[in-house]
Amino acid sequence: MGKPKLGVFKFASCDGCQLSLLDAEDQLLAVAEAVDIVHFPEASSRLESGPYDIALIEGSITTPHDVERIQQIRGDSKFLMTIGACATAGGIQALRNGADTSEFMQAVYATPEYIQVLDQSTPIAEHVKVDFELRGCPINQYQLIEVIQSLLAGRTPRTPKHSVCLDCKRRGTVCVTVAQGIACLGPVTQSGCDAICPSYHRGCYGCYGPAAQPNLVSLSTQTLKTGVSPAEAAHRLQNFNVSAPAFHKESQRLTDQAREQN
């Protein structure tokens, strides 16, 4: 058997997650040796059609054409993995899901009818079967390399599911909530970033999305006690993973609460 064929595909996104692969400078040439990168438009002019052994998918589905394109890629791929918050949760562009997309289009474009766009920004898994999801906005390059390597070795890729708090403890970072009263989403956010934000004296804003079984109501109750308004607390959950079910549900609950207060 020849080398496994790798394809990288982009939907609505910022290119940051696929850049993580090019940013793994030390391993990049080794990866390029171990797999045959047959489709990666950002890196190579050689573009081969399928089948692919591994497909990395960045970005969310936001246009009618992309709905068809992802089906095609799925059909061509043995193992399909989503990379990043856009592909796994709809990304920051999913903020329009609860709003009026045509009004958004009118606000940005003088002639919105030139451009076709769906009302919702949806994750890849809403359209096709996904074999593995790598979280983060952006993903962590070491996790990406580890996943590719484990696939090559025939192992199931493993990434941690615990919350950012645990990594804070492991790094020895003093908790910003306890020490400085700064609101932090760390207790409900999945690890993967090595708890960067608290080490820079700011609260986690949830860019890796919800951890396994997060207790969001309990965290909100705590946050509201520090004087944060329900609307602000809702905004905090409404960013890169706004459409991840756990964050979505709690931000709706807080928004309703804010409405009642007014």
């Binding site: 438009p41 573009l47 936001t62 990304g91 920051i92 940005v108 002639t111 970033c193 905004h235 960013n239």
Partner: protein
Amino acid sequence: MGNRTIKVETLTRVEGEGGLYIRLNGEAVDEVRLEIYEPPRLFEALLRGRPLEDVPDITARICGICPVAYQMSSVHALEAALEVTVSPEIRRLRRLLYCGEWIESHGLHMHLLHAPDFLGFDSGLEMAKQFPDEVNRGLRLKKHGNQLVDMLGGRAIHPINVCVGGFYRLPTRKEVHKLIPDFEWGLNAAIETTRWVAGFDFPDFESPDCEYISLSHPDEYPMNAGVMKTSRGDTIDVANYEAEFEEQQVPHSTALHAIRKSTGRPYLLGPLARINLNRDKLSPSAQKLADEIKLEPLCCNPHKGIIARGLEIIHAYEEALMILRDQTLKGKSRASYEYQAGEGLSATEAPRGTLFHRYIVDKDGKIVEASIVPPTSQNQAQIETDLKQWISHVISNDERETARKCENLVRAYDPCISCSTHFLNVKIERT
């Protein structure tokens, strides 16, 4: 020869996704279209109603290749709206962060995206088999850029440490000094790299009558402040940006096309424009090398963009080293501010050119309106204009060869079309 079309379905080795469409009538060019099919992500619309503190984190996500540029233009614009002045230390650290992004972004473009065109490879990774030393050196430079953004920004892609007023925390002296040995090596390596690319075989082609525009500053190479200067000799205050430039929507692209209102013509931003207008502000090593390789004082050959990038990497290393070695890292990590209703605008120099942000905020610190004009969308009309001329140089019966040469020219501008879709038309109408 009758009518024929040349289509490049997917432009490769550019950031973001787009294609190229060329219609010829015999030898004459009927139409050239740089087709951008990036889906719109509507950032300006979704920022409305959000706390202004969210803006640097969210606008970073417009582009994973140059998040620092989005963070810098946004914090400057918001500070203008809040009438906040940052300390000289913070200003220097912001330049340091920008140096990291220039090194990373230019390093990526030069070695992995552009150089393969001159040496006949499909990718930098393939080029590495014959030019291992050069590619490895390039990857190391790129990595230094990432390390610097990582140290000061918390991570290389979408840094977390930037905020309105400054930084969440200042780096420690130890963190800063740790980078010095690598950067000393890197400065020399950057000089070698630039010498190497300057020796490439450049097509004999000049953009006809192109106007170059960049920020300019009396004391420094432009990065985070200045007025706009143009190669026609005009000076434009950033505050007048929207009066001087106009974006037009075209059917074939999700990006808008920009022109100078006074001339009705396109213009070019980016490294070549910056070098053409600010060569005397380059660091000593970069100036020396520019002279050594005999770069024209006004270089109009877009293929030489790779040299301009090399010179800017040298500059970034030299300036970064100066700041890294500085012993006076002190003061507060950020300026405090109070909310007030207002409007603020700012332009900074992203790796690909001047990036303009404007915000209106209300008295509770919420965003009322946002307007973002990225460099690539402004360059797009100039790229199409140049392509029309370039085709007559490269046209042959071999369609694939012609298409390849057209793609080469497009790549020379380092277009980043993942960000070219997200800006507000300035002629917004509200009811």
